[in-house]
């Protein structure tokens, strides 16, 4: 089956990175994500906040078809990337994930060398340039190069948790995605490592669109341009981060950000 080439820019809208239309995710009968439509602007950081189990991670995983890996999950609706529905039958999930990278909640480097962690994605995707240069470039982009440049052949598992997570970010950046999805990337890290990740997110905004899930509201306020508040699988409120945190329109948003539930 010929698969859709996601490099095709004909359906491009200049300012929109991703758009969902009536997107729902079901686990069996129950909806974990219920009829969400929103647009994610290009070169911005968008945060999804909400209490545990509100569907924010499940929603995030729709953007790179990670939910495909869960047999019980069923997705309805559309996710548009460059005018193409990522869930159309002629779109290959492998190609989607190369365009839309992901960083997970717990740092999950491969049990290989630091170098190999980055080179793997390059090799499997048929990278044509110089491997060494791209590895260095990615590690610099993730603000990790200076810490690891003399130990590239050591095991990635010997790095600290924060370094491991930045390695995972470098690994995702190496294959040059346009969008970076981050699923609570700092929740397993101490405050200093968290700070470094947040600095990094602000820097990466220049070149990438970032969608970050967090249950840390301060973090959302610090790093994001736009924030979406999800509750029980529904999108309650979505808007400019400063506005949403200072002047929420919905009562439930206000209750959540003031810590009255969740």
């Amino acid at each position: 089956m010929a698969t859709k080439d996601l490099r095709d820019r004909s359906g491009d809208a200049p300012d929109i990175a991703l758009e969902t239309r009536a997107l729902s995710v079901y686990y069996g009968e129950s909806a974990a994500v219920n009829d969400i439509s929103l647009t994610i602007p290009r070169n911005r950081v968008v945060a999804f906040i909400g209490p545990s189990g509100c569907g924010k991670s499940t929603f995030l995983r729709c953007f790179n078809r990670m939910n495909d890996l869960i047999p019980a999950a069923r997705v309805e609706g559309e996710v548009l990337f460059r005018g193409t529905n990522l869930y159309a039958h002629d779109v290959d999930a492998v190609e989607v994930r190369r365009r839309i990278g992901m960083v997970f909640q717990k740092p999950n480097p491969f049990p290989k060398t630091i170098y190999e962690n980055i080179a793997f994605g390059l090799r499997i995707n048929g990278f044509q340039g110089k491997l060494d240069e791209q590895v260095e470039h990615s590690l610099r982009s993730a603000a990790l190069w200076d810490e690891v440049k003399d130990r590239l052949q050591e095991s990635a598992l010997e790095l600290s948790g924060g370094q491991q997570q930045r390695l995972c970010i470098a690994r995702a950046l190496a294959i040059e995605p346009e969008i970076l999805l981050m699923d609570e990337p700092a929740s397993a890290l101490d405050p200093i490592a968290t700070g470094k990740i947040e600095d990094l997110i602000r820097d990466l905004r220049e070149d990438y669109t970032i969608v970050i899930v967090t249950h840390n509201m301060q973090q959302a306020a610090r790093v994001s341009d736009y924030t979406a508040f999800l509750y029980l699988g529904e999108l309650i409120e979505y808007g400019d981060t400063d506005r949403l945190f200072t002047n929420p329109r919905e009562e439930r948003t206000e209750q959540y950000i003031t810590g009255r539930f969740g």
């Binding site: 790179n64 990670m66 890996l69 047999p71 492998v94 190609e95 994930r97 190369r98 990278g101 992901m102 997970f104 717990k106 999950n108 480097p109 491969f110 049990p111 290989k112 060398t113 793997f120 994605g121 499997i124 995707n125 095991s155 990635a156 598992l157 995972c168 690994r171 995702a172 294959i175």
Partner: protein, 289 residues
């Protein structure tokens, strides 16, 4: 204050704990004792027969001239061939069941049956081997027929052990790979299999340890008890250590019984070497990070 609301009875709780500890200790002690008696008995009978000549000579009617060269070579051939057949089949089946098979009733049925097959008596595999490999495929009473039979015998254990090893690979590793645009095959090849390999090898060695001691199915398919030459190809007739042992113990002369004890010691040493090899191999793969 009347009526304590707690009665800690710490002494009694500790006594129960101490008794439980003793029961466990007796269990391990009993097992070790029986094993030790067996080893001592075998060593007393067989040790003085052990010599390089014993290993280098073919069997003979005269106890002083008898050796186990053909049996050792037969066992080594047998293990090599059995491993060569059962490893790819077993690991392949396990990968299919864990990674590819849809989660439906058919898979569950398969799974249950594989579990059952592990409990089928080995003589039944012997009958199967005789019908299929010796006769139908025309392998004759050869090493290949024996190895194919033993491979069938250990296959369920290899599959189940490999499946457990694959299951133990954390999903975070798979997600990391898929997240970079890896295909299923690339994920399995580069991440899942290497991570599972130590566990798979452990299962493989345990299976071979069982296979090396198997006698009944090989007698069934017609392994010879008297082989006075070295096998040079998989199609040669053969004998193996347990058959040689069985043969010697069923002779009336006491000297042959002691020869059997000597062969048992050799078999135990071979087993020990195999298991050591397995541990070294496993450590090597594990240390790779």
């Amino acid at each position: 204050m009347s009526g304590e609301r707690f009665r800690p009875a710490r002494d009694r709780r500790r006594r129960v704990g101490a008794i439980f500890r003793m029961v466990c200790l007796v269990s391990i002690g009993f097992s070790m004792l029986v094993l030790a008696i067996l080893l001592v008995d075998v060593a007393r009978d067989g040790l003085h027969w052990l010599s390089w000549d014993f290993l280098a000579r073919y069997p003979s009617r005269i106890p002083e001239r008898a050796g186990i060269k053909s049996a050792i070579l037969g066992s080594l051939w047998m293990m090599g061939l059995t491993a060569a057949i059962s490893f790819p089949l077993g690991v392949g089946a396990a990968i299919y069941l864990e990674e590819y098979a849809p989660r439906n009733w058919l898979t569950r049925l398969l799974q249950t049956n594989i579990g059952n097959l592990a409990g089928v008596p080995s003589i039944v595999y012997g009958i199967l081997g005789l019908a299929i490999f010796v006769r139908f495929f025309g392998f004759g009473r050869s090493l290949l027929a024996g190895a194919a039979t033993l491979a069938l015998l250990v296959l369920p254990v290899v599959i189940v052990a490999s499946q457990e090893a694959l299951k133990a690979v954390p999903s975070s590793l798979r997600e990391a790979s898929y997240g970079l645009g890896a295909t299923k095959w690339q994920t399995i090849r580069h991440h899942v299999l290497p991570m599972a390999l130590p566990g798979i090898l452990t299962g493989m060695i345990l299976s071979l340890s069982r296979a090396i001691g198997e006698t009944a199915p090989l007698i069934m398919i017609g392994a010879l008890t008297f082989i006075a030459f070295s096998p040079t190809s998989p199609m040669d007739p053969f004998t193996v250590l347990p058959i040689q042992i069985f043969n010697w113990t069923s002779k009336p002369q006491a000297e042959f019984h002691d020869l059997a004890a000597g062969a048992i010691i050799v078999l135990l040493v071979v087993l020990l070497v195999m298991n050591t090899g397995a541990i070294l191999l496993r450590n090597k793969f594990q240390k790779r990070f």
